[in-house]
Amino acid sequence: MTGAPTSVTTSDGSRRRGDRGTLWGLFALPGTVWLLVLFVVPFYALVCVAFGDIDPVFRNAVPAWNPLDWSFGTAGEVLGEIFGGSLRKVFLRTISYVVCAVVLSFFVGYPVAYYLARHAGRWRGLLLALMVLPFWVNYLMRMLAWVNLLQVDGWVTRAFSVFGVQVNWLDGQPVTVVLGLVYGYVPFLVLPLYAALERLDGRLLEAARDLGAGPGRTFRLVTIPLSRPGMLGAGVIIALPMFGDYYTNDMLSRSPATEMVGNQVDFYLNATTQPQKGAVLVLVLSALLVVLMSYYLVSTMRMQREIRA
């Protein structure tokens, strides 16, 4: 099938869009099959465990592979705990920590992205490299760094105690966890924000200024609205992993007082023999996040289509 260049003889020489569809399909095949077998099937397995049974003797999970056999006992139990029981607090805490962390990340990251996009001048190359660098410094290493500084005899703790503030920062402090999340994820916010602000047409800002708007009004009425799609995308892209994060919390607090959903999932799946509960929690989390995920996917697809067109 790869022999003669049949398509040269097409009536319309410049367009060969339809030809060899199967060949391109073959190129896409290994990756697609891989993702089906190791992304889609595993998620189905998770659903089957969540709606499966528990072995009466060994108490281990018995997944129900046939949707007709699904039972919703564990799911109902977990949902009950979420809406009225012990898990309620965990969910509310997760949501409030993530919201705080995302808002703080914007507060920290937006000015940086703005400076980079509009004013950095000859420093831009160096600064961009510095913005990318944290991506390649292991996340756990970055948290380890803070653990060292925040220990009882750590440099930051001692600096605070000079001002009379005596706090054990690593002992279940919500502030530590939220700031840890900000520190961990803000680099992933700055780059997409930079990309969005960099695309912004500077002439529009000048026009606003020429028409008499001050810097504050220009920012509020022109810059923010024009960069809104980029801001939303960037916010979503850091909020998603934060919702599933458990290691930041474990490194910086490891206390039930700051526990998030991710910690519960980790607990049920890795420390107990009740994976159903963990699986149900993952499903609930996915259901909560599906709105954010689809927002991001749809806007990415739209952008792809615009680039192609």
Partner: protein, 291 residues
């Protein structure tokens, strides 16, 4: 001339500049201090007791050079990253080429399938993989085999993202010129498209290596105990115990090897570029994941 009334709008934004450099300092100072403490003379990871190489080479059992658990973590991380790189990059590049050229209903389905892992929180992926390996694919043991399959799964989409940007900028003209000159479709791909894609393929290798080495969640969920711990998993499990600065040495070594891989990658890529005389920076491909 409204600016005459207020301050000069083209003045240098000192406040923004200060904020940005403070941000840079905040990002890197803690990490630099953690690296510094790997050279601490005492047992503490938070009180400085003079410079020494004790935790790198000196201690007979507990230094990075001599502690077997630290070795095995490093070995696991590096082997896993290399294998992931070798498996995920070709699959991802092929998928990117396929998706860029193939127009059909199935193709747009495959495109969605490729994008979803990018927005799926790692804990969802880790939990699903753990449950599929313990309940369905029971022939694949937890530990390195499962970790490798998991790492490849989350890496493929990133390779596609990196390669796709380049595929779009290459366009179809060169390939069609090759076809017009008598090359078969496969020859056009092999002799024209792949060489043009070389920088993206390379960027794919580098990015997959770095992402795999950086990963914690998938490695942790699919680990089978101490023998398959990677460096991030090791840091996670040791950090709150009274571990020594050898942990900092381990983490520093990992970061250093990531950065070396990255620097090598970037220089090879700029060599590609110089050979082709293009002006784009090597950074563009490497940052395309973040943007």
């Amino acid at each position: 001339m409204s600016w005459r009334r207020g301050r000069n709008p083209w003045r240098r934004p000192i406040g923004l500049a200060t904020w940005t450099w403070a941000y840079v300092l905040w990002m890197f100072l803690p990490v630099a201090i953690a690296v510094l403490f790997s050279f601490n003379g005492g047992r503490s990871r938070s009180v400085w007791q003079g410079f020494s190489l004790r935790w790198w080479t000196g201690e007979p059992n507990a230094s990075l050079l001599h502690d077997e658990t630290l070795h095995s973590a490093l070995r696991n991380s590096l082997v896993l990253a290399l294998l992931t790189m070798l498996v995920a990059t070709p699959i991802g590049i092929a998928l990117a080429i396929g998706l860029a050229r193939w127009r059909s209903r199935t193709a747009s389905g495959a495109n969605w399938l490729m994008l979803v892992p990018l927005v799926t929180p790692e804990i969802v992926m880790g939990a699903s993989l753990l449950l599929v390996f313990t309940n369905l694919y029971t022939g694949i043991p937890l530990g390195r085999p499962a970790q490798l399959l998991g790492h490849v799964t989350f890496s493929i989409s990133y390779v596609v993202v990196v390669a796709r940007g380049r595929l779009l900028s290459i366009g179809r003209d060169y390939e069609e010129a090759a076809r017009d000159l008598g090359a078969s479709q496969l020859q056009a791909i092999r002799l024209v498209l792949l060489p043009l894609l070389a920088p993206a393929i390379f960027a794919g290798f580098v990015i997959v290596f770095a992402m795999s080495i950086d990963d914690f969640v998938i490695s942790a969920f699919l680990s089978s105990g101490a023998g398959s711990e990677t460096v991030p998993v090791r840091i996670y499990s040791a950090v709150r115990t009274s571990s020594t600065p050898a942990l900092n040495a381990l983490a520093s070594f990992l970061v250093a090897s990531t950065l070396v891989a990255l620097a090598l990658g970037a220089s090879v890529m700029s060599w590609f570029r110089r050979r082709r005389g293009t002006k784009e920076s090597a950074l563009a491909d490497l940052t395309s994941v973040g943007i």
